[in-house]
Symmetry: C2
DNA sequence: TCGTACATACCGACTGGTTAGTCTGGTGCC
DNA sequence: GGCACCAGACTAACCAGTCGGTATGTACGA
């Protein structure tokens, strides 16, 4: 019997993370017991506490994964040579698509942040802020160069758009009429139209 | 000793509700124990379970209060004789102001809905839907009469705007640079600009 | 090619603490 | 005397995390 896998081929830590993600999204962090997680992953508590320091650690891992992914994608779009308008549109649409494609992560992200331990919460907020500021810088660039209206503070614009991202996990259903890309295009349109001078 | 009041003049049920609201907003529903609530209200469990059937009931009361308030206000704006554009702007701005003025209720509303018992959750969703539809009807009216663009489905527009409402409790701080009314005006501006044909 | 030593990966019973809700009883008003 | 109002001890369930133990693999000297 190999060490880190069992049953199917995926390593135990990943199985635990996947089970935890699904259960946290379905029932919420506090309502999900460690026992449920290990049963869903087909292992026992011993395995979980071998790989993770605490239940809190598991939640933190989910956050780290999401944050890394989103930041990487934003950076890629922001660094391109396209005009600001395109960069904003692409970044705004992309975050919608990736959020919908990882709706479980998203609902955990926005619902369970305050259940992280204070220090981990602080850390997550700091990374989140980096993301926010990168996006804001894009908006500000557009405002300086006259492509976007200056009527609304860039900070507010970012919060406006991310509100809708935040909200996706509340209303979006995969079996609904719109594909992730269609929703993304519409939401990016709304943002860009709101920014027209 | 009078029946329903004690210590200060406010009746016990209201004291319980106020204490619960504050604690739910601060710590979340699951992390708040019934013991904490009764201590904050200056009574004991006997009193709480005399007036409320369960901890869940208490949460439901918070929802009922918020829903009633918001629906009343929306109806008032929607029923006016002003042009659609004004009605949408006023309704959109008003919900921002009342949300900020009751930020505790708002954060509970958006964070703890899924911890309600299934039937109460269903009930809340139904009332929420009524609200959504009333707002959507306003947008659709504007689209029919050519005041608003038809490019984005009205449903999506409503979700877009309510995403930003939803998000308010995450970022708005009373000691920040913007007053509730200023935030409301900006957010309403963004919506109206996004709706320009 | 054994044998010993050590590390990694995991099991599952157990512990100490917490929790929502119940129940018995008491008190003052009508 | 009855009823609304409330106190607070009690119960049954649950839960995160611990810990001693087992099984498997790897390194290495003789």
């Amino acid at each position: 019997m190999p060490r880190t896998t069992d049953g199917d081929g995926t390593p135990v830590p990943q199985r635990l993370l996947a089970a935890a993600t699904r259960l946290f999204a379905e029932q919420g962090y506090d309502r999900t017991s460690v026992q449920e997680i290990v049963e869903a992953a087909g292992v026992t508590k011993g395995a979980l506490y071998h790989y993770f320091g605490s239940k809190d650690d598991l939640l933190h891992e989910v956050y780290a994964r999401v944050l890394r992914l989103q930041q990487e994608r934003l950076d890629a779009f922001a660094d391109s040579d396209d005009p600001v308008e395109s960069r904003v549109r692409e970044a705004a649409a992309d975050v919608v698509v990736t959020t919908i494609e990882n709706l479980d992560d998203a609902s955990i992200f926005f619902r369970s942040m305050h259940q992280l331990s204070p220090e981990k919460n602080k850390q997550v907020r700091a990374e989140r802020r980096r993301y926010h500021e990168r996006f804001r810088a894009l908006i500000e660039e557009g405002q300086r160069t006259g492509v976007f209206t200056k009527e609304t503070p860039a900070d507010l614009v970012v919060d406006y758009h991310f509100g809708s991202i935040h909200h996706l996990s509340t209303w979006y259903r995969p079996d609904g009429p719109l594909s992730p890309q269609e929703v993304a295009d519409h939401l990016a349109d709304l943002l860009l139209r709101a920014l027209r001078p």
